[in-house]
Symmetry: C3
């Protein structure tokens, strides 16, 4: 099976590979990785905090990766200043995600004018349109549709049922999960006098830069004119909507079911949490964070952390939501005060 | 036409089939089922409450299913202690949903190492990967993609454009509607020192138990390690997001556009209404209910009914939202009180 | 390239075509359209308001479309009473969206019982089921799935990975973007005594009238009985959910990630903004507007503009959200008033 690597490693060799010291029996043989609860003999597990000590002592795993300042217990352990990063590297020794073999499947439909790089894989029942370009070692899984003149870089992966519309540009090492749609028409109309909607032609395109990951069934619309852009290293979760002419900066995170309306500009290193909505023509500064379900209708400065709809500073939002559910008590108190004040007014008159 | 059964039934025979008494002319011939408004001669309709009496008297239907304690009017009627359940059974006499014939379409792409049960149907242009297992009488509609080593049970239905990713496990009598994605990578990254995101390998899988139904374009992500699980009998609507390592209990209901973040645990018999969001690592107890658009950031006990974001008891939430839109009046009253108190203070000083 | 028209037009000829006067050099040659920022020599740009004067003077474009009451500057300009509409018409001279050639691709799977009109295009790897009807000049892009007995009108476009389920009716000049699902089962169950859910058969269908546009990965469910209807000229954005038995009136706008629950009725010329939710069995009047993220749980009269959850008049909602974030101050003031009143009570006693 191409994606479960079968090799066994001695713990001491894994430690060497990670550049970390280890404690305990370095000769123990590691054959896989697992969670604390489900580990079996031969597995390496990860513990990031002292509070999981009990589970660590009880696991059936054979070894652990732990923080450098944590003491080793019953199990032999690799001690790392960045234990989660080290564990991820260790996972890579035992697992790599499924990758079909290079080559064009006989049931794929590839235009004669498409230009495919070296070691490209095109799966069964995928359609590659005219003048498409695909870079070296990119994997097109089965049942993908790429419209004419789209360009996909090298070492990218497009999963089943992805649509890439005409003229879209996709960079290197981009991963697009199943059912995502890149470059469908933006949603723009003029209202005619009779109330009907006149379609504004969506003549622009989508540009996805290198190292972006796009979740399942996410949609990124093409621009009316110009470009919708998702910049280098940004990660987008499932069922996200990025509208026409949006510009998402580099290394940002868009969590599931986020929606960004037309022409908004999201900075770099931004985090938009689940189900956030962003109005059109909004600017969100670098390294800003929006809490889940925020409705961003006002620009967000660099580094701000916001919540609510309309968006406010998250500390204000938290204070507010401690008090608002007690509104009933405050209203009662206002009534009581009114009665007392009236009483006083009578007496004082 | 394979899915409209053409038989006609006498009303008395339908009553016998349902195990219910009837009143009026049992010889009337029933050829279909319909709604009160759109029924035509020959149709059987359903009335669940006395308040629809007028529509019942005016319908063009030939007979009705009514509650056991409702009196029969102009139309002959089957009287049932569970009238809606009886009507559903009656619908089954005249209608079954579209099902292609068993057999592998010549334009399907099925790996030689896939193991298909008896009377499996694989539609045109579907791709079944290496080492996939599919149980007896399961229907794979056209344009479905099943990645290597996935297992699908018996009597299940996977509709067009469904993606089932590698190693996913799907039970018996599962229905997956068009475009749903089972087992795409979970959304997990570590932030590196330069601000870029390091992908955490998503090595786990998805397990969908028996009798689950999954709506169109819903996405259920594979676990990082271990499993994302949807347990027996749970029903999931369209455009729902279930993140990695989530565990949804049995017989629960997830309404459209719900999103559940990583590692949260939803009990059995739970109802999450439309557009609810659940934070990561949350526990929702058995038989709990969340109102539409709730943002669940705190654990929910068994049987609780919650609303709002952050979630509170729904009765508190309702009281709160009666008062909050009147905040303007309360603020005015506070100002008036302040003026009066200042006036009093002057007088009393 | 089929979708970038290569012709060059003189400005005076474009003005003639649009029926508008022009100022400046009518002989200037126009070869494309672009935004102010990205225009190059030969491009026609659009300026709708005086406030973009500076950009207009600085653009590299060769001519502009401007409002009739705006003065022409450095660039020759077409002056229009409806400048945006005129610009859209001008775009149509240089651009039309990608359209494959008529004909059935040899790798398409078309049932012998399907009836296709004149100049229909069926792309590679699309599946057309039994007894499907498709009108003249309609384009079925690659990898589309149309179930038996569905009907699609003329001059419509169904993009890759669209699913049209059995018996669905789609009108003329309808555009359905990638991954949309028309006619999957509605979400209806009865709860049995043991807590399990009994599926209510979804026997109805979906009707999409003429001139509707449906966004990527949107889902429109078939009715339980009767029909789910989207009426003439309505435009639906991406990732929208329209549940069973919903009726959306003509010329309405449903923005991205809207969800409408079962049996609700949306009037004509309605606008539901992004991420709005509508409860089941709700009526929304003609020309009503709901602000983003509204949760519509109460009927909305004709022409009303609402916001919030539960929905209230948008002016009330705006006033409320100016005051609510100051709740902390009001609570402090109430406490201060209480102290003063108690003080007064002591003195007055």
């Amino acid at each position: 099976m191409p994606d479960e690597k079968t090799a066994a490693w001695k713990l001491k060799d894994i430690a060497l590979h990670l550049g970390c010291p280890y404690e305990g029996d370095g000769e123990v043989e590691i054959t896989g990785v697992a969670s604390l609860e489900n580990a079996r003999r031969g597995d390496l597990v990860f513990v990031g905090q002292e509070k999981f000590r009990k589970q660590l002592e009880e696991t059936r795993a054979s070894a652990a990766v732990i923080p450098a300042d944590m003491t080793c217990g019953r199990l032999p352990a690799i001690k790392s200043p960045q234990p989660q990063m080290s564990f991820i590297k260790a996972v890579g020794l035992f697992f790599s995600s499924y990758r079909p073999m290079p080559g064009i499947h006989p049931l794929a439909s590839v235009s004669p004018s498409a230009r495919l790089g070296k070691d490209v894989s095109v799966g069964a029942l995928s359609h590659i349109g005219d003048d498409v370009e695909i870079g070296d070692e990119t994997v097109i899984f089965p049942l993908v549709s790429i419209y004419p003149r789209a360009r996909v870089g090298k070492e990218s992966r497009l999963h089943s049922h992805v649509s890439v519309r005409e003229d879209s540009i996709i960079g290197d090492r981009v991963i697009i999960h199943n059912g995502a749609v890149i470059g469908a028409d933006g949603f723009g109309y003029l209202r005619a006098e009779d109330g009907s909607s006149i379609k504004i032609p969506q003549k622009g395109r989508v540009v996805i830069e290198d190292d972006v990951e796009i979740g399942a069934n996410t949609t990124i619309d093409r621009a009316a004119l110009d470009e919708t852009v998702v910049r280098r290293g940004t990660k987008i979760d499932n069922l996200v909507m990025v509208a026409h002419n949006v510009d998402v900066g580099s290394n940002s995170i868009l969590v599931a079911q986020v929606g960004i309306a037309g022409s908004s500009k999201v900075g770099k290193n931004v985090i938009l949490s689940g189900q956030v909505g962003v109005s059109d023509h909004i600017t969100i500064g670098d390294a800003a964070v929006a809490a889940a379900k925020s409705g961003i209708t006002k620009n967000v400065p660099d580094g701000a952390v916001v919540a609510g709809f309309p968006n406010i500073d998250i500390r204000e939002w938290r204070k507010m939501w401690v008090l608002l559910p007690r509104i009933h008590d405050y209203v009662k108190e206002i009534k009581a005060l009114r009665a007392k004040v009236e009483e006083l007014e009578k007496k004082v008159k």
